[in-house]
């Protein structure tokens, strides 16, 4: 690589860093309970060696209704040791993984195609990819898993230079497998197929030692998780999402009114499931999803911004054509890898019901960007003015990214990121009265733990949910949490208003009518960007309430309770 090319790569990385790290602690606004939970688990392990449920170094992390893969949490521990626990430091790991993906994305394409310009275009498009930026700016394990997968692929192809790279391949494969659910399918399949394709070069005498070491290392990494494969904890995610699991939802096209032979023919489970799998699989190739709809989830997409930018569509078509055409032999390795990644990446996403899951199908972003880059590269070969057009398109794209990522998402999707909880903890931190935080809708306790930096040891002692033995088996949950003087549980109106305490809840839990009727005074209100109340903190006045009840009983009907207590 010459100086100019190095310069280009560095500029691309700077752009990637800017788009991923700028305002990372504040945008997306809010901090979702999943992020808070894995953050607090890391914090808890840092100080006690146990997670929030008191389990020593879990293999899978018990979460709200499922179990989380462990690597993101474990990697957060040294980060918290250096940077402390904050929204920024929790998201830092994912943002860093985004940069690693750009870096290795570049080197894989460069090594396989020997075309530096193509590799630079790929890196540039990855740097400005809305899909990649979205997952990099939040604590999603999927992005870290992709980074490991990319390092695995890169080191795999490096083994031809030095067979010791196979050791790194095995470690990265193990880490990728352990980092996110989708990679439990994708990583072994990709690795297996790469091994089969290159078996002649890999399985020879001079590699025996390295192969054994690599295999054992990989096995040591994944074995503890594999051992848990049949536990309810491991299976919970699959059972709740798979199109093949009964009970959750009938397959698309199932007609409940059919009986007899019609039921047998038209409600045939295998046909319906194949059809549904096909529809989900194909949707990941449809321009309507890639350039329009994207993921319907409010936390897995940006408002008014598709996973890919619209101008990339014609280049993607060009890339697809390259894939189907007979091309130069030296392009075969890259072509093979692109096809492999496209076909395998979608399997986990397509067996789950959600349409176009940008989280589960994340590894698809990279091969599709390679196809777009190839489209641009082929266009460049024919039209010398392409760099000017490309520069213009990149500048246009940066403006196009700015509003949805840094403005619209916070304004329109703050609710989805559960904004406002941090402010609650600020308002209640010096209160001496008992506090009840309503958790009828959501898992607010994890954010309270995170933002109050609650003492993990004390929290573990006061909140028993399951013993260590049944950690992966017992799915029963303790919905009531005690965090110092804060009880996180549903408000019980006919009891809680007769105790002097502070009640905190969302606008649905605590409304004006209840405030008037139950002798409550408003301590604070937290509003969203549109000025709507999202949380209220109120103080109860038990004596006034009792007086009000007696007056009502003896017939002195009043509409509003008058508070006399301070």
């Amino acid at each position: 690589m010459n100086k100019k090319q190095w310069m280009g790569l560095i500029l691309i990385l700077i752009l990637g860093i800017f788009l991923r790290f700028w305002n990372l602690g504040e945008t997306p606004k809010g901090f979702f309970c999943d992020e808070a939970s894995l953050g607090y688990d890391a914090y808890s392990i840092l100080f006690t060696g146990k997670d929030q449920f008191g389990k020593t170094l879990p293999i899978l992390f018990r979460s709200f209704v499922d179990f989380k893969p462990p690597i993101y949490t474990f990697f957060l521990i040294p980060i918290y040791k250096i940077l402390g626990m904050s929204v920024w430091s929790t998201r830092f790991l994912s943002a860093m993984a985004g940069i690693v993906t750009i870096w290795f994305g570049f080197w894989i394409v460069k090594n396989l195609s020997k075309n530096i310009r193509l590799a630079l275009i790929t890196a540039l498009l990855l740097a400005i990819s809305p899909w990649q930026i979205m997952v990099s700016r939040t604590s999603y394990e999927t992005n870290l898993a992709l980074a490991f997968l990319m390092i695995m692929i890169w080191s795999f192809y490096k083994f031809k230079e030095n067979n010791k790279w196979l050791i790194l391949t095995a470690i990265m494969a193990g880490l990728s497998f352990l980092t996110y659910h989708s990679e439990r399918v994708i990583t072994p399949l990709v690795l297996l197929i790469l091994f089969i394709k290159n078996w002649k070069e890999i399985f020879n005498k001079k590699n025996t030692k390295v192969l054994i070491v690599s295999f054992l290392l990989g096995l040591v990494l994944i074995l503890p998780t594999v051992k848990l494969m049949t536990t309810p904890g491991f299976m919970s995610r699959l059972n709740s999402l798979s199109i093949f699991s009964d009970g959750v939802k009938k397959p698309w096209g199932f007609n409940e009114n059919l009986t007899g032979w019609k039921n047998i023919v038209f409600n045939n489970r295998l046909i319906l499931q194949t059809r549904e799998f096909g529809s989900l699989y194909v949707s990941y190739f449809s321009p309507r999803y890639l350039f329009g709809l994207g993921d319907p989830g409010p936390r897995s997409s940006y408002p008014d911004l598709a996973p890919f930018l619209f101008w990339q569509l014609p280049f993607l078509v060009g890339g697809w054509c390259w894939l189907f055409k007979k091309t130069d032999k030296k392009e075969n390795d890259l072509k093979f890898l692109v096809i492999l990644m496209i076909l395998v990446s979608l399997i986990p996403a397509s067996i789950t019901r959600d349409p176009f899951s940008s989280i589960r199908a994340l590894p698809l972003v990279w091969p599709l960007i390679i196809l777009i880059s190839i489209g641009i590269e082929n266009f460049w070969k024919q039209f010398k003015f392409t760099p000017i057009i490309l520069f213009g398109l990149i500048v246009w794209s940066l403006g196009r990214l700015y509003l949805p990522i840094f403005k619209f998402n916070d304004y329109f999707r703050g609710y989805a990121w559960e904004e406002g909880v941090e402010k609650i903890t600020e308002k209640i931190k010096n209160q001496t009265l008992p506090i009840v935080v309503d958790n009828s809708r959501g898992e607010i306790y994890s954010q309270i733990l995170f933002f109050t930096k609650a003492d993990p040891k004390k929290y573990q002692e006061e909140n028993f949910e399951v013993d260590e033995k049944n950690y992966y088996v017992d799915m029963n949950r303790n919905k009531i949490k005690q965090i110092d003087n804060i009880s996180v549980r549903p408000i019980v109106w006919n009891e809680d208003i007769y105790k002097d305490q502070i009640l905190v809840g969302d606008a649905l839990s605590i409304n004006q009518e209840q405030i008037d009727e139950h002798c409550l005074t408003v301590l604070f209100e937290i509003k969203d960007s549109e000025g709507k109340i999202i949380f209220r903190g109120i103080k109860t006045h038990s004596q006034d309430k009792r007086k009000f009840d007696i007056e009502n009983k003896i017939g002195k009907l009043k509409n509003k309770c008058v508070v006399t207590e301070p």
Partner: protein, 193 residues
């Protein structure tokens, strides 16, 4: 000979699916274009976005043409959607904004993939894709494309035919043909339930 019969049934099934669907669920041809008056919801969403940013950037990306451009792109992408043709717009029929219908049995997508392979290798087929593109570009100006989009039936069916024809050259293709015919019968039958 039986193989040829199976293949003919298969091709016939592909050809009759979309017209049958039009007979089964008659279409209402709406002549309105995307240049209809701006709705209250569109204005509300648009103005909210505008109010969020005071920089000059917004004017470049969100201006008077945005609402019409969005309507056009929505139509364009609906017609570019593979799921529109093979899966009756599933899994996002809920946000289609246009009437959707059964067009081709889902297994016919195999033929489209083969057709893409054939047409990418041979430049003479580029015309078919250009016809499809031109039709989509024109149809995208309509408010409701259902019914009008039947003009896409001819080039797309031709591509599927090309794919199906290519399948004939493979050994034991009759097994696949038989399976596809059975599946197709179920899919077409589903339309009349």
């Amino acid at each position: 000979m039986w193989n040829k019969v199976l293949w003919l049934i298969l091709v016939t099934g592909i050809i009759i699916s979309w017209p049958l669907s039009l007979i089964n669920k008659p279409v209402h041809f709406d002549k309105a274009t995307i240049f209809y008056p701006v709705t209250e919801e569109e204005t509300w969403n648009f103005e909210k976005k505008l109010a969020l940013d005071t920089s000059k950037i917004k004017k470049f990306y969100y201006n008077k043409s945005t609402i019409v451009k969005d309507r056009y792109l929505k139509n364009f992408l609906v017609m570019m959607d593979l799921n529109n043709y093979f899966f009756a717009m599933h899994p996002r029929e809920d946000v289609s904004g246009v009437a959707y219908r059964f067009k081709y049995p889902f297994e016919a997508i195999l033929f489209l993939i083969i057709a893409i392979k054939i047409t990418c290798k041979n430049k003479k087929y580029i015309k078919v894709w250009l016809i499809i593109l031109a039709e989509i570009l024109i149809l995208s100006f309509l408010k409701q494309v259902d019914g009008w989009d039947f003009i896409l039936f001819f080039p797309i069916t031709y591509l599927l035919y090309l794919g199906a024809k290519d399948l004939l050259k493979y050994k034991y293709n009759w097994i696949l043909n038989l399976g596809l015919v059975l599946l197709m019968a179920i899919e077409i039958g589903r339309m009349f339930l």
